[in-house]
């Protein structure tokens, strides 16, 4: 096990650095000048000589006059920066956001927490609905109920999230007035404790509903397919032949075996939605999350912020894949990853 973990960890490190170099190179190929982005608003307030001097000074300060590899090495923390210190990613410096005018690390914390909370709730609810649904569909495959569920869930899957969001806002916020159109809390409220928690949930309800609705089809079908496959196995026929109750056959024999392919999907899905954020949901519902932050950073050519987020996602994905592989052993004792 230890040998396997060391091998996988080494692989993870290599992939991380290769990806980081590729990402850095790609973003540096985009025709944008961070120094110009910062200095452009000063054209009207500074005299031309002063503007030029400050612009060139900033280019030097940002190290833009150096070749790509040197800039990468500094950004990663392999080489000393312009100020003579090692202050790259490896030293915990995630860069500086030109649009927020602050270190990246100061910016991403709050949106990340918001995104994780939103996605955690919606993921739990989605799983709570889709797993029973998938099992039901598999057990009652090709019945009217199965067909109805398949068709119903695929509606949410087929419609663009943006459209579902707008539709749900119209129904639940404008027509029924049950829920707010967006935001994260009652404006101006200073609730604390349970009241604050409930208020946050109230404002999160509509985006969660949309996420759940649009996420039903995928997992339902995965569970259904895995269960159908398992239910067709000989040992299930044997179990039924032994006279076991159908409930025991389905949940104790079939479901546990069907869990193996399902668990990998769940793991990967959870990691991506927990951290990735949803641009559409967050912008539609005015939520301060990572998806909107990422989009905003791209639009404002804030590439240090974009790169920091990309590298974080890369790391999470790599660790996620490792955890998914490790989770096999937990779900299926027959799997021995050290062999």
């Amino acid at each position: 096990m230890r040998k396997y973990l060391i091998k996988r960890f080494a692989y993870l490190v290599v992939v991380f650095f290769v990806v980081s170099l590729m990402m850095y190179a790609i973003y540096n190929l985009i025709p944008s000048d961070p120094a110009l982005v910062q200095m452009e608003p000063l054209r009207k307030t500074l005299k031309p000589d002063e503007w030029t001097a400050q612009y060139l000074q900033l280019r030097t300060k940002l190290g833009l006059d150096q070749p790509l590899l040197v800039r990468y090495a500094r950004w990663m923390g392999f080489m000393k920066d312009v100020d003579g210190t090692f202050s790259g990613l490896l030293q915990g410096n995630f860069g500086y956001s030109v649009s927020y005018k602050r270190p990246v690390v100061d910016i991403i914390g709050t949106p990340m927490l918001n995104t994780i909370l939103l996605n955690f709730i919606s993921t739990i609810l989605t799983l709570a609905i889709t797993i029973p649904l998938g099992i039901y569909c598999a057990v009652h495959a090709r019945s009217a109920g199965d067909s109805a569920i398949q068709a119903g869930t695929v509606v949410g899957y087929s419609l663009p999230t943006y459209l579902v969001g707008i539709l749900f806002i119209y129904i639940f916020a404008v027509l029924l007035r049950w829920l707010p159109t967006g935001g994260a809390k009652t404006p101006g409220s200073t609730y604390t404790g349970t009241r604050e928690f409930l208020d946050r949930l109230y404002y999160m309800a509509l985006p969660v509903l949309v996420l759940v609705f649009t996420g039903l089809a995928g997992m339902t079908r995965t569970v259904r397919a895995a269960m159908m496959d398992t239910l067709s196995q000989d040992y299930i026929r044997t179990a039924r032949a032994k006279g076991l109750r159908e409930k025991v056959v389905v949940y104790s024999h079939a479901w546990r075996n069907a869990l193996l392919p399902v668990s990998t999907s769940i793991m990967g899905w959870m990691i991506s939605v927990f951290t990735g954020g949803s641009l559409v949901i967050e912008t539609t519902f005015s939520l301060n999350g990572t998806g909107r932050l990422y989009w905003s950073a791209l639009n404002t050519t804030d590439y240090e912020l974009v790169l920091a987020m990309q590298m974080f996602y890369t790391l999470v994905s790599l660790v996620g894949v490792l955890l998914t592989d490790l989770s096999y052993t937990l779900v299926d004792p027959r799997v021995r990853i050290d062999k």
């Binding site: 400050q54 916020a173 928690f197 409930l198 005015s286």
Partner: protein
Amino acid sequence: MKNTKKLLALLLALMMVLALAACGQQQPAPQAGNDEPAPVDEPAPVDTPKETKDYVIIGTSTEPNGDWAYAAFTSSINATDQDILTLTDDCVTVTSNEGGDYVLNDSVVKSYERTEDADGNATYTFEIKEGLVFNNGDPITAENFLAWSLFVISPAGKEMGTVSNSYNMILGGPDYKDGNVPYLAGLRLLGDYSFSLTIMATGYDGNAYLPYYYDLSYAGMRAVNLDYWFGEGWHVKDDGEGAYLVNDNGLELTKDNIADHVTAAQYATSDRVTAGPYNLVNFDKAATEITLEINPNYCGDFQGQKPAIKKLVIVRAEDETILDTIRTGGIDLYSGIADGGQVNALIDMIEGGEIDSDYCRYDRAGFGYFQFACDFGPSQWKEFRQAVAMCLDRNEFANTFCQGWGGVVHGPYCTAFTMYKDSKDFLANNLNTYDYNPDGAVELLKSIGFVLNADGTDYVDGSGLVRYKEVTEEEAQYYDDFVVNVDGKILMPATLNWASSEGNSVSDLLSTMLANGEAVKQAGIEIKQNVMTFPELLNYMYRQDAYGLGGNYSVPTYNMFNLATGWNSGAYDFSFEFTTDEAYILDGYNTTHLYDEELDKLSMDMVYGVEPGDYDTYLNMWQQFVLRYNEMLPRVPLYANIYVSVFPNSIVNYQEGPFWGFSRAILYADYAA
């Protein structure tokens, strides 16, 4: 395993119950520190009496950054942050009025004097009123007005990254900035309530700073609380040579000694020590919400006006759902809606009684336009530029784009400027409005020699082909991809290479109505649209390399760009924008590359050649500038929006203007009786 299952099931059930409980809850009224459930009410129709709110929820489409250091460390400050600063920090010597003109803040300034020495250097001496206090009760004296400049220009400030270049124009600035002397000679502490500022006529960078028509803006100084920004024990002193910052505990003015305090104050999310109409109560980053409450210690704005609305809650709003949010009461006040469709829908909601709100409208202080690169290709001839303008029905364009909520201007101005108001007849009589006239465009093209086909034969009007003109090698420079050689002659097509930003509705409409319009085709002009990102468009426009990677940005490539411009104040300063100085042009100034000595001179002299207060001379030069601009036509104005702001009927006397945004207008609003 059974226990785990039970736990998981319990968690799931709990989560669902909580979510359902939350969904069933009605929107409660804000209450401070309340941990009790709010009373549950049925949604009230608009026409039933509602509980009077003492707060207003304001929507903003710009996310606040929460940087309150008065743009000391940054090249720009976003609109919401600026609004918050206006609402919380208003103890300034100079401000702007509804017309955007710089005026003295009479609530702060007791007396003011401007004197000039033989070299033309100006000294602005202020005596401020006694009894002014910060929101925490600390008295405001002359020290507080000098402290910020002394910090920003100091070596410690520079080490911390301040971006101001005011040291170039303040007497003794460079010596103080470089640490050669501990005092700033141009700032003088003359008494507890008196101080002065001296601006050099010719700055240390060699630039002329005076006379400057808007020189009152130089004298704008802000009171900051020294304890709050720099820590305890800091004072401003003056031993006769200039003002300086000193610490009672013997601390030197260094980065190490003040950086932590400055950073904490810069990004404070509550309890800022300020002197404005409102106090920052809380900046909730997670919810992107800012809460402000009235500052009882506020002395009033330049007209002595104090706010009546007790509490302002500023929240992030999304453009796509803004109307639904207003409709459902999520936002009470939203400023500057420009989209004509949204405006029409909003007014329907108001007039239909769907929301209990009203609206105000005002002209935008700016306009959208397309501009030419006037130094290469066919756009190097003014007649060509004029011909292109005449191929577009700009009134129709503005009407379509703004959906009735906008109009057209015929020069570089907005209708809110005093100069415009005083020049209406002059402009009406003298400006060329370039009305839609394809035939006129053809005549203009013929007049400058666009009379050939691509093979050198005579062009037949109405053929639908692209016109060509015989040009010299010099005229053909940078247009190799378009010019053709026929029998030793160089022929240039009437083709514009347009850099158009992606996802831009103006570009889309311009493409339909101009580039692919019938008039352009019949005139024999071709406009090639090249869609690109906005940063790339800027690179081509400024002709600068990007990210140190080289590239062809410095090579003239595109000769048409569509953009927009705006003014934050009534200061009309086009200096350097039409410079003919080679060095400035290389640095990205004069993006139209119109090298017209007259326009350059007028744009400079209009502000740097007129004494402050000499409005008649200024107005005359302004008119000449607009006239010359209109003739040379480096830019073709397309539309100027009419903005609409919605506000609740629970407040009255709310009126925004082009230079009078929500942060100023809200001071004059009151609760409806």
